[in-house]
């Protein structure tokens, strides 16, 4: 095992640990923090694999922007525990959850096993080129080979934008009648904001 391998293994374990702890936490803020930890560890994995740019972008976009937004919403609603989220479990849901977890767990173990025990698996161990993961390389792929899905993503962003505006914007009738929908949205947390 080389040093690279050890760093990779450690950060991979931390990433999985963070993800597991994120689900296991009762406190939503702690969940967010473990998710950030997991994301940072993933970024280290990317860097270790030579994808420096992807690693940095992962931190900028997910840890730096999206998770801040999550934390912001949690703080705004002042959620402190599971009861605030109004979570309850239907037995069927529990079964499905359990099945999924078992499935993914088995998957993880088998993949780790097949990679580490039986050596290389087909194309999995493809040697990256020198400028693999560099900005230029990523950009070149995006604007040549994957131009078409990249452009499609533009449409996707438009949809997300329109959708967000529709969902977030106060409607005319609501402004006129003193925001009736406000009540429906806030009801579960009413009385808890501002303690």
């Amino acid at each position: 095992m080389t040093g690279d391998m050890i760093i990779f293994a450690v950060s991979a374990v931390v990433a999985v640990f963070g993800a597991v702890m994120m689900i296991a936490q009762k406190n939503p803020v702690a969940s967010v923090m473990f998710l950030i930890l997991s994301l940072l560890a993933q970024a280290v994995c990317y860097v270790q694999l030579g994808a420096l740019f992807l690693g940095a972008v992962l931190v900028v976009v997910y840890a730096g922007a999206i998770m801040v937004l999550f934390l912001f919403v949690i703080m705004l609603l002042n959620l402190r525990g599971r009861e605030d989220l109004g979570l309850s479990s239907h037995p069927m849901n529990t079964i499905t959850k359990f099945l999924l977890v078992v499935l993914l767990g088995v998957e993880l173990v088998l993949i780790v096993k097949s990679v580490f025990m039986s050596g290389a698996v087909g194309g999995m161990m493809a040697k990256p080129t020198d400028d693999f993961g560099s900005v230029a390389q990523v950009a070149k792929l995006l604007f040549t080979k994957y131009m078409y899905p990249f452009q499609l993503t533009g449409v996707l962003l438009l949809v997300a934008l329109v959708g967000a505006v529709v969902m977030a914007r106060k409607d005319r009738s609501e402004i006129a009648h003193g925001a009736p929908s406000e009540e429906a949205v806030n009801e579960p947390t009413a009385g808890k904001v501002g303690r």
Binding site: V57, V59, G64, L71, F72, V135
Partner: protein
């Protein structure tokens, strides 16, 4: 291998000490400059010209009682100052402080680490700084802190986009993301990117001030409304961690601004490191000057300014630059 590690370790220690000293004396600089601007004297008793004031301040804060109010989320409360402090320190890892030099017969590079995506790295780590403030506000269990934390996360999210966009123009022109390479391209004063990206530079300054929560964008800690904002409930060392973190962030954005727009360590006659320090000092002075001059924004003004003015302008700057880059081939 071992030699490399030792050199790197020494460099890290030197940079950390330098940055911390810089932070300490920035506070003195701020207090003196603001005092002169307001026709006062400022702290001048500890040592000659008050030069020992930061030391006295530091000692005072260390020996103060560390008060942990009841009803805080202990883990998060303890972690928050550290989280606020670390990202701004990390940013210095890719800043080219000086040209490469040789010492005791060894070639030593002027940066701690020359990442080929240095600029993005800086944005990645500085974008994490918001967590410290956010978590401090949330975990303190006080409404002033919470409001301060919420304000700061909203503010930082809003200005992050423009902040990132402001330097895209420079990157497009320079065609590199390496800080070192950026400095190398600004070898004479006329090649400084500030001349080719004047709007970009102004936008960078504005966004940087907003990102570091400084006046006139210092709403998260607006005293008249929020007492101390997110750090209301903090005292002693924990409080000073926030303080150092804030000044380290100011220094970091000044260093980055210097490197990207003002030619970094490049300059005639004087040794590179002197030029670098002078330029950073200029940026810091500008910061303080603004604080002494402008009143604080109102919250809605801040949001409108960020989203409806800065952001479109930054986009425009990027597009116009991209157009010219393409046009000239």
């Amino acid at each position: 291998m071992l030699e490399m590690i030792i050199i790197a370790a020494i460099k890290v220690v030197v940079v950390i000490v330098a940055v911390l000293t810089g932070c300490a004396y920035s506070t003195l600089l701020e207090r003196r400059v603001v005092a002169f601007m307001q026709n006062r004297v400022g702290p001048n008793t500890a040592g000659p010209w008050g030069l020992l004031t930061p030391l006295a301040d530091g000692l005072k804060l260390i020996f103060k009682e560390d008060i942990v109010p009841a009803g805080v989320e202990r883990m998060t409360y303890a972690l928050a100052p550290v989280i606020a402090f670390i990202p701004s320190m990390l940013a210095f890892a890719v800043v080219p402080f000086t040209s490469d030099f040789s010492l005791f017969g060894r070639e030593i590079s002027g940066t701690l680490s020359d990442l080929n995506i240095g600029v993005i790295y800086i944005f990645a780590v500085t974008s994490l700084a918001v967590y410290g403030i956010c978590l401090a506000g949330w975990s303190s269990g006080s409404k002033y802190s919470l409001l301060g934390g919420i304000r700061s996360s909203a503010q930082m999210i809003s200005y992050e986009l423009s902040y990132g966009l402001t330097i895209v123009g420079v990157i497009l022109i320079a065609n590199t993301l390496s800080m070192r390479e950026l400095v190398a391209q600004q070898d004479t004063v006329t090649h400084w990117f500030i001349w080719r990206q004047p709007l970009g530079f102004l936008l960078y300054l504005t966004c940087a001030i907003a990102e570091t929560n400084r006046a006139p964008f210092d709403l998260p800690e607006a005293e008249s409304e929020l007492v101390g904002g997110y750090h209301t409930e903090y005292s002693s060392m924990r409080f000073s961690m926030f303080f150092i973190g804030e000044y380290a962030a100011m220094l970091a954005v000044s260093c980055v601004g210097t490197t990207i727009f003002l030619g970094g360590w490049q300059g005639p006659f004087l040794p590179p490191i002197v030029w670098f320090v002078l330029k950073v000092f200029g940026c810091m002075f500008f910061y303080i000057w603004l604080r002494a001059t402008f009143p604080r924004f109102r919250y809605d003004q801040l949001m409108n300014f960020g989203w409806k003015f800065l952001f479109p302008l930054a986009l425009l700057n990027t597009m116009v630059t991209a157009f010219f880059v393409l046009w000239k081939g």
